[in-house]
């Protein structure tokens, strides 16, 4: 098992390999926080979707991963930042099966269903920040 990470950690997302690295980092945090195997897999999959979105649609950016606590339970929070074109129509972007690219159109909506908390902050022309949190049950 990799050494325990303290505090938030950031990774750049500029290439395909970075998506894998982000995924591994999220996995490390999820294991550390002792999320169940199902929750680990869900969070890692969501991170994979969002990191790829950052890369493909946001033109690259960075991911930040941290352990969080709301006083009662622990969790893992991951945020994905880009300074890309932003999302003009959120309803459409979050609809199943709609993609502005060539994907299945399930990444963003699917990621939302995979986590406990999903925040999307976007402004056309400025960029997008997606923050997801998975709490330990």
């Amino acid at each position: 098992m990799p050494p325990r990470s303290e505090g938030p950690e950031e990774l750049p997302i500029t290439a395909d390999d970075d998506v894998v690295r982000v995924r591994q980092l999220v996995r490390t945090y999820a294991q550390q926080t002792k999320l169940s195997l199902v929750d680990q897999t869900k969070l890692v999959t969501a991170a994979s979707e969002l990191a790829r979105n950052t890369l493909i649609y946001g033109g690259g950016g960075f991911a930040r991963v941290e352990e969080v606590s709301d006083g009662r339970r622990a969790g893992v929070r991951a945020s994905f930042h880009d300074e890309g074109p932003g999302i003009p129509d959120l309803t459409l972007a979050l609809a199943d099966g709609w993609s502005s690219g060539s994907g299945l159109g399930l990444g963003l909506s699917g990621a939302k269903r995979l986590v406990d908390q999903f925040d999307l902050d976007t402004e056309v022309g400025r960029g997008t920040v997606v923050t997801v949190t998975k709490w330990k049950r």
Partner: protein
Amino acid sequence: MTVDAGRAQNLTDLMRDSAEPLIDEWVGVVAALLRGRSTKTELEADFREFFAALLPVVGSDGKDIGGPEFTDLRAFLEEYSRSRVRAGFTPTETASSVFSLKRVVFDLTESSDDPQMFRQLMAFSGLLDALGLLTFESFARVREEIIREQSEQLLELTTPVVKVWEGVLAVPLVGTLDSARTQVVMEKLLEALVETGSEHAIIDITGVFAVDTQVAQHLLKTVVAARLMGAECIVSGIRPQIAQTIVALGIEFGDIVTKASLADALRHALRREGVDVVRSEIA
């Protein structure tokens, strides 16, 4: 060693005249530096070649190292660095063996106080610096080559297509599925289907940690391609957490046959092939 004051002070001539003792001395210095990891005989053969390629350009200060008169020398250093990297020497050790020649030549000309000779030595020092740096560059380049080779090998290694029964192929997928790997998997699988005339292929994803939409899309494409060739694909090794994730993501596998384990998939394929597996009665 001393310089004959009566002769013209030309570094090239001097080095050519004292080639044997110079190379001897140089080999000695470097052999000590590498602490026996390279034999003197090996070093001597290399350095003799290096020395021969170096002599014609001794007058240069190394600024025009990209020029045609350096072709032999560059080729030699490239090859030398390459063999050093593969043998596990550090770039510092490789570059040091080039730099070591400096000291040996300085020792040779120690007693000379001719300003002309001094200038030639300065130029020579610059030349060796440039050549030493060249070994560093080659080192980095060779390393990159090795990494590229390995990642290509890994690509091949991790995607074996195995025949598990007459007419049934299996592809165990392990690790991360990206576009490049899926492409390889798909090609190998389709080729193997033709070669073996198989009608069933089992794609086992037990070793895949997470199935996201991209992986799913790659899988679906592979299955559709195989179907176009008249083969049926079964996706197996879907663990509980993967199943739940796929459902949450909203991925539809449609009419593709999926199984929890490779054994289930094999049984399904055999049944479709008309093979009955019967446990024999053991007395």
